[in-house]
Symmetry: C2
Subunit: 217 residues, 2 copies
Amino acid sequence: MVPIITVFERSPDGGKGLSRDMRVRWALAEVGQPYDVRTVSFAAMKQSAHLKRQTFGQIPTYEEGDLVLFESGSIVLHIAQNHSGLLPADTNAAARAITWMFAALNTVEPPILELQNAKFAEGDRPWAAERMPLVRDRIRERLAQLSDYLGDADWLEGGFTAGDLMMVHVVLRLRPSGLLDEFPNIASYVARGESRPAFRRAYEAQLPENVSKPGRG
Amino acid sequence: MVPIITVFERSPDGGKGLSRDMRVRWALAEVGQPYDVRTVSFAAMKQSAHLKRQTFGQIPTYEEGDLVLFESGSIVLHIAQNHSGLLPADTNAAARAITWMFAALNTVEPPILELQNAKFAEGDRPWAAERMPLVRDRIRERLAQLSDYLGDADWLEGGFTAGDLMMVHVVLRLRPSGLLDEFPNIASYVARGESRPAFRRAYEAQLPENVSKPGRG
């Protein structure tokens, strides 16, 4: 049974790999699981067929027989717990990897989402320019802490895990902001993630010309 | 072996149960697991002894022998996967419950964190009053979607799960804003969570006079 994922018909980034389906494609590619793809338009995302799968009208979703999941974190965890390759066999080490998934999504990503709102939802407001440095500083605080922890290590906890997959992709969304360049070890960490063969396969799969094709895994 | 959690020495909310250690206390109370408590001051949270446990200088942390976890989502999931009572036995139903944990933390909580920043980090800025309605509308959008999904159900997926625990606590943080009152079925859902005996035990445990005492579970 090949799982089906739902992705943007046209990603707002035009195929730069910043949308959250990239996390799921990357995880599936790491574990070698092929998948089918359903695309949704922005109009369809707000309609009942999609809302039945995704309460908040977002992407991605994941279907596997009767099971319907949403939230990139939940889907990547499900893939990681049902295949080998994304979580260490040792249960304590796996719990640490999962801690980093949550850190990416609940501590590092929120200020990045604030930056996106500042740019796209409030960019034309009179306070936009004056407020932007505050928003960027909140991200810098998180990146500085992550940078201190990471030091010169390749990955967060020894070998590559689902925690790195999630953290790399969350932080990658900052590339257009220039903030990554202020933290060379994080920039290297992201580049290390992007150079993985599974990342490359997932990136190719999400390009506009390939977006609706089945994924090779 | 009794786990140790780290919590605020003095919670910024003065003991209203809004801090993230409440999620962990509540989960431990639901499964009947006693625990010990370490308190940290605001100064100690930025020092190396704490940063070694919690990269981002936050609370809570969770220690169990050699295992050190942080992120309330990760800790609650660890508790839920190692005790009975917070996740259904059926694996698909458990995956759905975990989806709701991530939805609470990565879709519903980020706009609530933005509101906290708007109030506490930017409340004295010249744009604060004019901007606030935009921030509140972003929360309303998520609450409306959650309200549509929940309808007149007691819990998100049949019986109470770790997904409800996380969603109730995330949404509970909105009580001071008045936004909960706009969505009566969500207000009832939160009240239902707060009336659980385990929630009450956790709430008592986090009151200023009890905060550093061992938890009964």
